[in-house]
């Protein structure tokens, strides 16, 4: 893949992360509130859906950064701190490689 499109994708991902999180929280909250009003179960559904929304936001953020969760092992890996640090390092290497030629210091 061209470096150009990698950078553009990175830009898209960076800008998407924040609003994705906000949107997931909002969806969770408003859906919960709507269902609470409908069934009169306040505040339980709001709370549940808000937590689900938060989880969704985190999942979206994780997937944006590290790629889709395809298999159950991926989830185990996703909550494994050591693996995550290794992944971050790998990503940093990738970033370094992709940014390499434009940096005057190297």
């Amino acid at each position: 893949m061209a470096k150009d499109s990698w950078n553009t994708k990175a830009l898209g991902k960076a800008l998407a992360m924040a609003t994705n999180m906000a949107a997931a929280l909002a969806v969770g909250y408003f859906l919960g509130a709507f269902l609470d009003k409908r069934f009169g179960t306040a505040p339980w559904l709001t709370l549940t859906f808000f937590l689900l929304g938060t989880a969704t936001g985190l999942k979206m953020m994780y997937e944006t950064a590290f790629g889709k969760l395809e298999k159950p092992e991926d989830v185990r890996k996703a909550v494994n701190l050591k693996d995550n640090l290794a992944k971050m390092k790998e990503l940093r290497e990738q970033l370094k490689k992709n940014q390499g030629p434009t940096d005057p210091e190297s």
Binding site: L11, A14, L15, M17, A18, F30, R92, L95, K96, Q99, D103, E105, S106
Partner: protein
């Protein structure tokens, strides 16, 4: 050095992301403020219009932009591919022709060499033949000349002998005053001359 390099790069990247995000937040702040008063209503007609407009635009652009341009791009790609293929064919042809010409040239060179060699050989042969013939002729000529000389010499010697005999006879007649038969004399003188002549000549 290297460590500082990537640190700077990470800082740069993180800084860029943070700057973009905060810019976004700053820009969105009036919205967030206005939204605090309550969720704005969804206006169904606006959504409907927007979807209709978008689909209509998609249809128009399909007709005027994507179909003709993508077709043209494909067409151009095919043209380029086919002309490349054509060029390749021509190149192969030229290569083949060149090889053929090379082959022809080599063949004719070989042929010419053969012709020259043959001519040389013929020449050599003719030369040898001619020389042999000339030598033979010369030898023949010489032999004939020798033979002629021999015969002339013999003739001269014979003549000389005859004359010498006659003279001797005449002289003897004068001396003896008596003629002996000429045949006897001649025989006698001849014997003598033969004896002497062989020694002289």
């Amino acid at each position: 050095m290297i460590k500082r390099g990537w640190l700077a790069r990470v800082r740069q990247t993180v800084g860029g992301v943070v700057a973009l995000s905060s810019l976004q937040l700053i820009l969105a702040s009036p919205v967030l403020a206005s939204e605090a008063h309550g969720v704005p209503a969804i206006e169904a007609y606006k959504v409907m219009w927007a979807i209709i407009n978008f689909l209509f635009l998609l249809a128009i652009l399909y007709k005027f932009a994507y179909n003709p341009i993508l077709k043209m791009l494909d067409d151009r790609k095919n043209t380029i591919e086919s002309s490349l293929r054509h060029a390749e064919e021509i190149r192969v042809d030229i290569e083949r022709m060149k090889q053929e010409a090379q082959q022809n040239l080599m063949d004719s060179r070989k042929e010419a060499q053969e012709i020259v060699a043959r001519a040389q050989q013929i020449g050599e042969e003719t030369k040898a033949e001619l020389i042999a013939k000339a030598k033979e002729e010369a030898a023949n000529e010489r032999a004939r000349a020798v033979a002629e000389i021999e015969s002339a010499k013999e003739k001269a010697v014979n003549e000389l002998r005859d004359q010498a005999a006659t003279l001797a006879i005449l002289a003897a007649e004068k001396v003896l005053g008596k003629a002996i038969t000429i045949e006897d004399h001649q025989k006698m003188v001849k014997d003598f001359v033969n004896e002497v002549g062989d020694r002289l000549c």
